[in-house]
Symmetry: C2
Subunit: 279 residues, 2 copies
């Protein structure tokens, strides 16, 4: 049993992977987790059979959808589907070397999403300190751990891992910062009575009113949508596909009928998976 | 006349700002352009009166909406509105120091969006070379210009500016890579007969079917929508507002009526601007 996750060690995605492993049905231990450098490589690892599963972020309550994940699922993911979801609170900490002096910090480092989520705190406490980009919060923490003139926006897990300390915790601007992670794999889960289904609808070129008619199929059957997201089809500005999360399992009677009708109307409908709804 | 743009010099946004300046009605020269380090600071410069206008990217044909721009317009932009739009092709080049040897490149550097857009080229030609993040394509080019073991994904404008050369041009995975930029300011433009209007709809909490009823107002009046984008309201997962671009000017009869009806139905509708449609 091997699970790919968006690495390196100490990212929020590793925490999510550990949460999935903690769920009884997954027969894996911490040792079976393998970090990959990018979302597309993480998903490809599972799609290509190098690992059994992949864990990636799909949506954040502040930043919105994770585009790299949506695109890989819509265009490249082969026969893997979403098996499970989990929602985790995102808490950012200001992480520094044990030798650091906060008054002498010369650089703030993290991924742009994380520094964006702490904009207010950073502006107030470090108004003139330049912000540098890193590839992951964990990489940022690793850099700050080695350089006492640097402070990283990162996780507690990463701070422990790289021998750094917290100068401040919960520095995020919005308290309700949550990220939804998904476990991808090849096992389809049966209907549990409280499921969600993720789909992507590709429409014909120049099909105005397409989204309206998609929404009507669900409204007519009283099916709740929990997410709608348009994304470019990577062809030209103004050409979109629609990512939709709906309540119910694809084999439940209502969703099954709606999906059949959409399949007749649209260019194509790809089912990204049915999975138990996270509490 | 001063125009803020997302800097530093040599970014695509500066190219867009120069394109806006080139349009007859803007009375500015190259000297009036001022680069700001982030999208929110660029928009705040104009909103706070430090500059007359701001130029920022709003949507890319591959990556989708530029979230920082949408959020600033929806939540922070004060009384400035979209005055103008322009669509520019995005061409990425591999930029190196004149002293570089391509076989000895040890690091690829750029903003994550740019390296993501050249994923295939980089994987083929530099399969084992680590990718490092920068704050802008221009910053990446500046670094590569100084370090012959580094290659940047950047623009021709930046390469000229920092004394670097192109090792390869047009390395993007998708040929139809375009970005839409907007000029923000305080002058509202009158209806020209071929305009677009950008709005953001805030819905009441637990208002299922809200998007359906929004779309029906436009469909009923035969108004074409050129973009729909849901964004989190920064409160909790599953709470959205909707960014919509429609054809027509807010003072044209159809759009004016639709907007009045939406204002009665929804929590609020914010008009981000009416402006001539880019060719």
């Amino acid at each position: 049993m091997k699970i790919a996750f968006l690495g390196p060690e100490g990212t929020f995605t590793e925490e999510a992977a550990l949460a999935f492993v903690g769920q009884a049905s997954l027969d894996a231990t911490e040792k079976d987790l393998v970090g990959y450098p990018t979302i597309s490589e993480t998903i490809e690892a599972a799609a290509g059979g190098e690992t059994d599963n992949a864990v990636v972020p799909i949506e954040n309550s502040i930043e919105g959808s994770v585009n790299a994940t949506l695109d890989a699922l819509a265009f490249d993911a082969g026969d893997i589907a979403i098996e499970r979801e989990t929602v985790m609170p995102i808490r950012h900490a200001l992480v520094v070397s044990p030798k650091a002096d906060l008054a002498k910090i010369k650089t703030i480092v993290s991924i742009p999403q994380a520094t964006a989520q702490c904009r207010r705190y950073l502006r107030e406490h470090f108004p003139d300190v330049p912000i540098r980009a890193a590839n992951s919060t964990a990489e940022a923490v690793e850099q700050a751990a080695k350089d006492p003139t640097m402070a990283a926006v990162g996780t507690k897990l990463a701070a422990e891992l790289y021998g750094a300390i917290f100068a401040e915790v919960n520095i995020e601007d919005y308290a309700d910062n949550q990220t939804r992670f998904v476990l991808l794999g090849r096992e389809s889960s049966a209907s549990t009575g409280d499921d969600k289904t993720s789909i992507v609808c590709f429409i014909h070129k120049d099909q105005p009113g397409a989204l309206l008619s998609i929404l009507q199929e669900f409204a007519y059957r009283g099916i709740n949508l929990t997410k709608i997201q348009s994304r470019p089809t990577k062809k030209a500005l103004g050409e979109y596909c629609f990512f939709i999360d709906l309540q119910g399992h694809k084999d439940d009677i209502g969703p099954a009928q709606a999906l059949k009708c959409l399949d007749c109307k649209l260019r194509s409908v790809k089912i990204l998976g049915s999975y138990p709804r996270a509490k």
